[in-house]
Symmetry: C2
């Protein structure tokens, strides 16, 4: 039997609970489609950091590397300076494992309501492809004389051809398997250097995908077009920071962070890819069972797709989507079930859901 | 009689038409409140650039400088490389005239519908204060070996204490005159150096405004909170690029770009401030009379406020808001009147509108 070895980083707050619930769905998909899942839990996150003083040690990186994929819950804890775990662990793994492509589907599932007028399952099915390792996330910069009137803060954004090309190539291939439209989103009227590199790469890769039309939208204008006319977009390719911001906007349009899934994808297969819900660790509701595991389950579906388990991926996505449509609220005490129970509901549904009911299964995500 | 000397840059596309319509409203306010307006038209924009090869010449800067304020329509033309006029003229003037504070009200006027569920005039009245001259807009950077696989693009973001302090100081003063809440928006978990400088400045200025509460929200999270819970915000202070993006999101929430006004404000009074609608030149509908002049009229109201004509500003804002509530669509052939006619309607309304009807006149914008 095909066996996939998953590294599991539950992390902090609601992370372990939503990950456990998502794994129930993954196991149900394995049973239905005849593959096996082996999991190894990694104790990374706030507790480990407070104990050891490092967010991500070399030994963990090497152990994680021996797996086929990483499932991450969420990190972040009030006892740790904000940003330390996010940079150290999440951004650290993205870079260590060359996960240059971040995949963020923005899809309104039937039965889920968008807060934006006019958005419906018929016109809201796009994927944001975000470069995941560069731009302002390189972290270069300095602050001189902090706290004085002479302080100057410098942040450097670095954009290279290899990571940009991998991202753009992935985006074109995806668009070619979908509705054949690609939109580059940047702010090239101001960030002229990075914008030129992105546009050059898009123009170059486009020659290899003559079936895909492409256009360009500024990042600011995207805040009008994405909510007001999502049907205009199929695949949106963008840089790290714009993708960070716009995928949260996408989450709003698709019904909330409770639905937003992501894949941190290594397109060369040189290290495992990592799958995580877009939401954070929500320490205020940790342990209450109020967290909706749908975004974690949808991220796990992306994981199955990345592992080549296409049928299992579609079934898990369909199961999560059909459970979502029944939840009265996206999280909180009114959710109508606790996190583990909703995970079991998703798992039960995986067994008999028709994957075709959530849309054209030919239209691939990965 | 008090006389204000306005420099008028109609610019390109729909810019001249919406500016002329807005000026009709300004003149009506002058008549009602007993001040005079003198205008000087400046021929800047695409035509001038195509003729001279420069977007903004020294002689124009010096002539503009002798005015009390600048009204700008819009710039951008298909015959000019995108970005050249925007950077040369708009960003050029912001920097030349030390307009370090960009003021962008996000207000849902009664009778206008927001596309976002739950947003109402009762919970949507905030102001985004954007630093207007620094960050990634400093434009520093390079692209080495463009068009080759070795290309590397660098963009530098520079943040200094003086411009940041001017912006934050302005934001606190405004919050203190409003609902006494200020939110810093940044991405300090990733942009650690710039984020630290912003947070240090906010913490320092906050000591002088003990009546104002302040908190912090990441730029990505803002894409959830701003549309879904605008009532949580009073004054949002942020950097140049985040402000650019989030004020377009604000425009979506408040009903569209047809309503989004802005002031490029020089807080030290060392050079004129500049007022412009957030929308662009829309060359496709130029000359058709389909452009809604409301955003230009609301920007002109900010101009009157900046000139100390508080009553005139409130009357013009109220007049534009009341006309807006009657327009069936925000622009296009279904607008129910052409740009000039709507300008006249706003001007007529200025004469007898009750400024208090658009809200508490004590709650200042400037
Ligand atoms: C937690 C943070 C570092 C991260 C990011 O900025 O990329 C998050 O916002 C995301 O979008 O995955
Ligand atoms: C035209 C462009 C340079 C400008 C900006 O990026 O600031 C515009 O988008 C704005 O928001 O005023």
């Amino acid at each position: 039997m095909r066996t996939h070895h998953l590294a599991v980083i539950g992390g902090d707050g609601i992370g372990p609970d939503v990950t456990a619930a998502a794994l129930a769905g993954v196991r149900a998909a394995a049973d239905r489609y005849g593959f096996a899942i082996e999991t190894t839990e990694f104790d990374l996150g706030a507790e480990a950091y407070l104990r050891s003083g490092v967010a991500l040690d070399e030994a963990s990186i090497e152990a994680l590397r021996r797996h086929d994929a990483v499932l991450l819950g969420a990190v972040g804890d009030p006892r740790v300076t904000p940003g330390v775990l996010e940079r150290g662990l999440i951004v650290g793994l993205r870079v260590a494992f060359a996960q240059s492509v971040n995949i963020r589907p923005v899809r309104l599932y039937p039965g889920v309501e968008s807060p934006v007028a006019g958005v419906s399952p018929d016109n809201c099915d796009l994927v944001i492809i975000r470069e995941n390792t560069e731009g302002l996330y390189t972290g270069g910069g300095s602050i001189s004389h902090p706290g004085t009137p002479n302080a100057v803060a410098i942040q450097n954004s670095i954009t290279t051809v290899p990571a940009t090309t991998e991202t753009v190539e992935f985006a074109f291939r995806l668009a070619s398997a979908r509705r054949k439209r690609l939109t580059l989103c940047h702010k090239k009227n101001i960030l002229v250097h990075a914008g030129q590199l992105w546009q050059d790469v898009v123009d170059e890769v486009a020659t290899r995908y003559p079936d895909v039309e492409h256009d360009y939208v500024h990042a600011d204008a995207m805040c009008l077009h994405l909510p007001l006319d999502p049907g205009r977009f199929d695949v949106v390719v963008t840089d790290n920071l714009f993708g960070d911001i716009l995928s949260d906007l996408g989450a709003t349009v698709q019904g909330g962070l409770g639905l937003a899934a992501s894949a941190n994808h290594n397109p060369r297969g040189t290290a495992p890819s990592m799958y995580e819900p877009v939401h954070g660790s929500a320490p205020d509701i940790a342990g209450k069972g109020w967290a909706n595991p749908a975004a974690a389950a949808l991220s796990a579906a992306l994981c199955l797709a990345g592992l080549g388990e296409r049928d299992g991926a579609l079934a898990l996505e369909a199961a999560a989507a059909s459970v979502l449509a029944e939840l009265p609220a996206l999280a909180g005490p009114g959710m109508g079930g606790d996190t583990a129970e909703i995970g079991r509901r998703i798992a039960d549904r995986v067994t008999d859901v028709d994957p075709a009911k959530i849309g054209d299964p030919e239209r691939s995500l990965m």
